[in-house]
Symmetry: C2
Subunit: 238 residues, 2 copies
């Protein structure tokens, strides 16, 4: 982050920003694992792995609270401006996205536990696997882009979200057809739909992390810029 | 807000905070209407009302960007501390919740338009009506509590969210039964399920606004405090 921070007299301030950034990336790592494990628990009907995902929620919440406090303390004590201020605000928002990703992973884990308890194997393995891979990758790449302050990578990840949305719609159509052909499967399939919905939301949050990174590096608020115009918009101010 | 702000030498600063607060409440009013109109458009199959809800999205996004810029500008220029800082951070987060509520209202409006185009009347009017009333009221009351800095009201609204979640689960059970009895209805019912899901999410966001208000007034981060412990937690620091 050093290359972005303005010249500080205070080495202490630099250290605080670096700690903040490290805590954010630590939380990112925990959440990334939660997502991967939640998907795996569902695909392998692994109830104990699902319990682990749920248990990690406490750690995620703790990191969320800690980082939020750090942001507030730095704002009050250091009164940062320019890039430093943007970094703190950007991390503050990106942490909110991570926390929501963790929540969605927890929802998936809960659904796994329900399915395992009922001794049922879900339909829609193929869809969960495919969309799960896509959004796991998005979360990973969004955090990687954040760690390297890589705007081009952030744009690429944000664009991926459209593919997730398309896959989600395709999956929905096939699941509806499946339910019509076998109405006894409806309850199970609805659970699969909730899993897919959570995955789709995780993709949205990964996209938002990329938007917060673009704000940090470029100072541009691109949250409401259509993805199709993102490359252009970002290169404008190169 | 004046009773909460610390003594400022600068009247200008007070005026800026008041403007920020007014913009937040203006955005709240727009979003509150979006929610009410989205529900009405669905219940009355009113496609043109649904189009209005969609069109308001641009205004919401504009207000979202404006308020975010104001927050950043005040942070950079005034370097606020204590309650002033909390107010800016709290509004910054509450605005994010409003923006998401607006997004959910837009999703409902889109589903209305789809249903109207297909000439279909949805099942689940009773459920949409009941849960719709509940969350509309929550959004209204959360904004009202925010305007009056009323922590007790905020706690009451936050507690409402459990009722919404219970109603949602009940509705889901009855819709699943309905689909099993009449598989031809599945496509339509799935759309109703998405509406209910959006309503349930709106309730979550209204609850979060209340949490951000409690942070503003009390300085406590209660986002991860279970609702059942909220009254106790908040009165601790009276």
């Amino acid at each position: 982050m050093r290359e972005l921070t303005s010249d500080h007299i205070s080495q202490q301030f630099n250290a605080e920003l670096e700690t903040l950034r490290q805590h954010f990336l630590t939380m990112g790592g925990v959440v990334e694992n939660q997502v991967a494990d939640a998907i795996q628990s569902m695909l392998e009907s692994d109830g104990s792995l699902a319990e682990e995902v749920k248990d990690k929620d406490a750690m995620v919440n703790q990191l969320d609270g800690l980082i939020d406090e750090e942001c507030t303390r730095i704002l009050a004590k250091r009164q940062p401006a320019a890039t430093d201020l943007r970094m703190i605000l950007s991390i503050g928002k990106a942490v909110g996205e991570l926390e929501r990703i963790g929540d969605e992973a927890k929802k998936i884990a809960r659904l796994t536990i329900t399915l395992v308890e009922e001794g049922e194997s879900p339909r829609g393995y193929v869809e969960i696997n495919r969309i799960g891979q896509m959004v796991s990758r998005m979360v990973h790449d969004a955090l990687d882009a954040y760690a390297r302050l890589d705007v081009d990578a952030a744009v690429r990840v944000a664009k991926q979200d459209r593919n997730v949305d398309m896959e989600f719609k395709t999956a929905m159509r096939s699941l509806v057809t499946y339910m019509m052909e076998d109405p006894r499967s409806i309850t199970r399939v609805i659970n699969v739909i909730w899993v897919l919905r959570s995955l789709e939301r995780i993709g949205d949050h990964a996209q938002h992390i990329c938007q917060h990174l673009i704000y940090l590096v470029k100072g541009q608020d691109v949250r409401h810029v259509p993805v199709s115009q993102l490359s252009e918009k970002v290169s404008d101010k190169e």
